[in-house]
Subunit: 269 residues, 4 copies
């Protein structure tokens, strides 16, 4: 069997709707197995699960090989981040591990197989991509938030460490405490404690909450609404173009045509 034939068959398998459904079912089965293993189960069930687990690994291996063979230019296969992710997951699953330390990694890899669901279902992939696309926009926002946290944590550690070292021991712990305050989780306990020594320390907490809550809301809503609006404007434009609704540019062209006609008329004797 020639390479070309193999590729053709692979491509046919890959684009088969039944094959896709089968792979999705296998991923769901794999997810269920992961869930099942967290329950108390007897020896027989465990052996069955282990056997199923290996079958799933081999089906995944087969699927990756098919997808790889179906690719016309093999180098393109590894250009997609999802393909690299899938290959890694399968390769690590194949390594037989006995060591208890490494066994943990084996279990984690099996858990991350659930993410293959996202790589297979196009709608989920689109959703995740649009989420990731908004992330870099958040970059400077997160940096600013981090600076606010850092400054408040440094101030907090300076003043409140003698009061409660567990919450304000060093700058890392203080930042965790401030994150807790930002989520409003028992933040008054933290405040009332420091207020016994510094009665005005409520201003520290309230300014922090206002700064982070307002800044966060402001910027997240801003980014989301901004992205949304651009997308919708683009969609509407595409829709109008598809519907044949004339644009202002079309009108301008039409009027220019009229002008040409009129000028032509004037040049007639």
């Amino acid at each position: 069997m020639s390479i070309t034939q193999l590729q053709e068959i692979s491509a046919r398998i890959r684009s088969n709707k039944l094959f896709e459904t089968f792979v999705v079912s296998i991923i769901i089965l794999s997810a269920l197995l992961i869930g099942a293993k967290t329950y108390e189960i007897n020896e027989t069930a465990l052996q069955l699960i282990t056997a199923l687990d290996w079958s799933i690994t081999f089906i995944f291996l087969f699927e990756i090989v098919v997808r790889f063979l179906a690719e016309e230019r093999k180098a393109d296969f590894f250009k997609s981040g999802w393909n690299i992710f899938d290959t890694l997951i399968v390769v690590v699953s194949l390594i037989p591990i006995e060591d208890s330390e490494l066994a943990l990694i084996g279990r984690l890899v099996r858990i991350f197989r659930v993410l293959r669901m996202v790589s297979i279902v196009p709608e989920l992939r689109t959703l995740l991509n649009s989420l990731l696309k908004a992330l870099p926009q958040l970059g400077y926002v997160i940096l600013l938030m981090f600076i606010i946290f850092y400054i408040y944590a440094a101030v907090g550690t300076t003043f409140f460490r003698p009061i409660n070292a567990e919450l304000w021991g060093d700058i890392a712990i203080s930042m965790l405490t401030l994150f807790r305050v930002m989520t409003f989780e028992d933040w008054t306990d933290v405040m009332y404690e420091t207020m016994t020594v510094y009665p005005l320390s409520w201003s520290y907490y309230m300014s922090f909450i206002f700064l982070t809550a307002f800044a966060f809301l402001n910027m997240v809503i801003g980014i989301v609404v901004g992205v949304m609006e651009d997308e919708h404007a683009a969609e509407r434009k595409a829709q109008q173009a598809a519907d044949g609704v004339p644009t202002i540019e079309d009108l301008s062209a039409q009027i220019a045509e009229l002008k040409a006609l009129l000028q032509q008329q004037q040049q007639r004797p």
Copy 2:
């Protein structure tokens, strides 16, 4: 009395404003009875409530029959989900139940009669419909959230089960715990406990909170604003059409007319 006469009378009753007000009052009375039954009441009052309850059931039965008879094509009646809901509620209310097990179902059915309010008041029906219409758009969002929950729950169970089996015992309990973390409900207690064994486990919680909170906010706001914007654009367009404000298409037609006139002029000798 012929069938046609019966239908005519029924239609007249159904469209009577007074009849509608009467039915709404009965639904409110029915809701009040449900509330009243949750208080300690003496025997006489209980008998009164039971009597009222049966009267309400029969009034509802009468109303359904009227609505059914008023329908011109009987088959259309069951095409509306609300009609099926109303009929089911009334039919189950009619079954006399003594068994304590079934009595519970009888009580629940009576509670769901309050939902008839939504089926009667058109504004509420519109509101609920618009809510339900946004739900399928949320479908893939919920699936993605579920996958994130599932993976974090599997990882959490793997690591934290030995620390606190009540919170991380199996994958279902872990998912409930994670939902609790997402609502910020005493989540630091959960975190501090696991941090005694895994000092870096704060990254597990913070990444989870960022992922779910940001993803959730991003997607919910995105969907809501998107739906809103489309609706408003449609409304504004309809409004402009009603006001006789010319559209770009009208302008284009006007200019085309001008061109025709000019061309006609040019063809004149």
Copy 3:
């Protein structure tokens, strides 16, 4: 002095910038007095406060009289809700009350004098009005939320009353408990308690949270964004009209003019 002269003088006082500043200062002083009275104060200070309090009442009385006299048609004065509110506050403040029961009402009326700030500062009045304007739009949303609460409370009372009568004793208490669950306030304590008897009761809480949180977010954001968008569209339109930017209607008129010109030309021999 004639009535007309009195009215003229009153109108001049009312529109005096200094008089307005003076009244605002008095309101702020009145607010400070209310705050001061909540601290432990000695007898002399209390007497001073009482004296100041009466002075404020008489200044307010004077201001109301001035505003009333300044009104050209006296009947119009009571058409404004704010005027009625101001008059009521002053009249009740004037009644000398010794009885401890009524003294409480006297204190409450003095507290509500702070609201006069809103009635005086136009920006605050506008803000409050725009808030109140959005409220009726919320009417059906609140009704729907109430129905959801009522049904869940009825179901909750039916099942959970034997478990904890303090939280699920009757339908009113259950609704309060559900409001607490909606604010995520120690809601897991409520849930874990009922899960010991009904292990599946987590679905009751999670469906409730999803329904109310999603519905609430959906509808509030929807209304706010909707109101915003309409306002902005109106503003932009007004701005464009002020800037002399031509509208599509203007274009249409211009083209119609052209057509008339052309037709006129054609009718020439």
Copy 4:
């Protein structure tokens, strides 16, 4: 070396990309030192940190001097708030302080040096500026919220002080308690306590939560979306102008041209 030469050299240093990167690194190092000082450190490390700290201060001093010299008109330098901030931070850092009271201020000043990050990185400066620009719009909103808080606090103190003086002792404490209620932090504990004396006091809390939560959401979302929309509209307009997309004004001008042509034609014999 003349003044002009010095200015030229300074300007060249200031605009050097490498110099900017160097200053940012120094700021990050300074931030890390602040963090390091919050941990338990031995004497040698402390001496190293102190030495580094002084080096950083002198580098900052050098940088400010360079920036000052690079400025063509010296008076302009102090027109920028950021420059004043930078100068103040450096000057206070230079004062050698031994007194433990003042040493605290010295530490605080060193912490605020982290904010220099914002003054150096233009993207962060833009972000902070846009945040500050939205703040004055919030002015009246915050005033209205304050009035609501003040009134509720006065009412709360009047009724609930005998129940729990720690939460409702005076108007300031009551306002703090209300802020806590607004963040949903153990608010039911506060409510259940007062409900033992005033069973209807739940209405006090629920009206407060609705008023503040709804008002806050309404106004914050309103402002954010409003600012966003204006910015986007401006951006889109600038984009269209850059792309050469004709505006309605261009169309109007085109049609006017046509009209002129036609009128010219008509005046021909």
